[in-house]
């Protein structure tokens, strides 16, 4: 058993890990198998994280946060959480590998997932012209006409990035102005390859997996009038939903679907379970606010651990050996073979 498990490896998770590791809580951080580093792994230049006046690439920023967390003794497992049990004083977290880890405190920083348009053709055409990741897929749309749906900073960033490849990028937005930051709006409106399509939503997407996306039907949100727009790609950037599916029935949620916390703290409805980052934040959702929130969770968890009986803590610290789950971070892979170190 451990003192702390952190679920998630975005700015909230890594910052919580830096604080907890410096407090000698030896946290175990579950980073995810293929989404380690979180949402910033799919972004390009980050220009608003303090301390990087020249900007920094999203994946580089996350790499540095990971290094900083590891420097103070955070142990990282690259697997996904399959289930959790927060009912007792000892919390249980089971991974995709089947391994179960136990801890006296858990910090949930699972972030959020891309929101879909909710159209029937969307899943069918995902990977055939419908995309949620401009940095992954933009290069396949060289010299083509494509559209971004959305009006926030992510939509602006994607549209500007996509003009490196595409001849023309429409931004389809439901309202008559963007909600993105002024600097991003200006950069977007100044870009000659970008054309905003105001007061408009996507009613349907045309195409098949064989043909790829061939166009969209647009609907005017004021008049209801519909028109066709030929396109080969549609990038969806309409926001995110908190990733809470693991916690239904174990943690209280808010009306917005985020994990409910008490006041400005990170305390959830389950004692010993704390939450941080986008999973508790329906409003700001910035790398820096997530990082700050991770700090709050680490400090709250540290205070909570100090209130627990000493015999429990001694077991968690490892001074008393007792039926613990298999140790993580072993150098032997699940098949029992040594991993080559070259």
């Amino acid at each position: 058993m451990r003192q702390m498990i952190i679920i998630g490896s975005g700015p909230a998770g890594y910052t919580a890990a830096i604080y907890a590791a410096r407090a000698e809580l030896k946290p175990l951080l579950i980073a995810s198998a293929v989404e380690a580093g979180g949402e910033l792994m799919n972004t390009t230049e980050v220009e608003n994280f303090p301390g990087f006046p020249e900007g920094i690439m999203g994946p580089d920023l996350m790499e540095r946060m990971r290094e900083q967390a590891e420097r103070f003794g955070t142990e990282i497992v690259y697997d996904d959480v399959a289930s959790v049990d927060f009912s007792g004083t000892v919390k249980k977290v089971t991974l995709g590998s089947g391994e179960t880890h136990e801890a006296l405190s858990v910090i949930v920083s699972t972030g959020s997932a891309y929101r879909k348009l909710g159209l029937a053709e969307e899943d069918l055409l995902s990977g055939y012209g419908v995309s949620w990741c401009a940095t992954c897929d933009g290069a396949f749309f060289r010299k083509q006409e494509i559209a971004v749906v959305g009006g926030g900073d992510s939509a602006m960033e994607e549209a500007n990035f996509l003009t490196r490849f595409a001849d023309k990028v429409y931004i389809v937005h439901r309202r008559d102005s963007f909600r993105a930051s002024k600097i991003m709006q200006q950069r977007t409106l100044d870009n000659p390859k970008i054309e905003p399509v105001w007061n408009t939503e996507v009613a349907s997407i045309a195409g098949t997996p064989e043909s790829g996306v061939t166009g969209v039907t647009l609907r005017d949100t004021t008049s209801g009038a519909e028109r066709e727009l030929p396109l080969t790609g549609l990038f969806v950037a309409i926001g995110n939903d908190p990733r809470v599916h693991l916690f239904h029935g174990q943690l209280d949620l808010t009306e917005e679907g985020t994990i409910a916390v008490t006041g400005r703290s990170s305390h959830t409805s389950a004692e010993g379970v704390f939450a941080a980052g986008d999973v508790i934040d329906p409003t700001y959702r910035q790398a820096i606010t997530a990082a700050a929130s991770g700090t709050v969770a680490a400090l709250d968890a540290e205070h909570y651990l100090a209130t627990l009986p000493e015999d429990l803590l001694r077991v968690a610290i490892g001074e008393e050996e007792q039926g613990t789950a298999p140790a993580a971070g072993s150098t032997v892979d699940p098949a029992g073979e040594l991993v080559p170190q070259n």
């Binding site: 293929v34 995709g96 012209g129």
Partner: protein, 108 residues
């Protein structure tokens, strides 16, 4: 570094289309973060199923002809070829259990 074999526009027909065993092709690129994440997962699956399936990688930047032919517009894209035809496509990085269940028909 990857232990999976790389195929190219030049070798695709021989290595993939003419293969006796099913071949899973991982379409990827250097600049794609999810591709880097899914690479080690595919290596594990390849190692554990070496007798049933061949897994190879194709760099879409260096091999645009094959990427265009198979209409790759999202990576990572993993396509299973059997008898020269695409019989299954998986798009996007997924954890090992999810990938294994999508590819179960070729790993059993």
């Amino acid at each position: 570094m990857s232990h999976l074999k790389n195929v190219t526009d030049a070798t695709f027909e021989q290595e993939v289309l003419n293969s006796d065993k099913p071949v899973i092709v991982d379409f990827w690129a250097e600049w794609c973060a999810p591709c880097r994440a899914v690479g080690p997962v595919l290596e594990q699956i390849a190692g554990e199923n070496a007798d049933k399936v061949v897994i190879v990688k194709l760099n879409v930047d260096e091999n645009p002809e094959t990427a265009a032919k198979y209409r790759i517009t999202s990576i990572p894209a993993m396509k299973v070829y059997q008898g020269g035809e695409v019989v299954k496509s998986v798009i996007g990085a997924k954890p090992k259990p999810a990938l294994e269940s999508e590819l179960a028909a070729f790993l059993a």
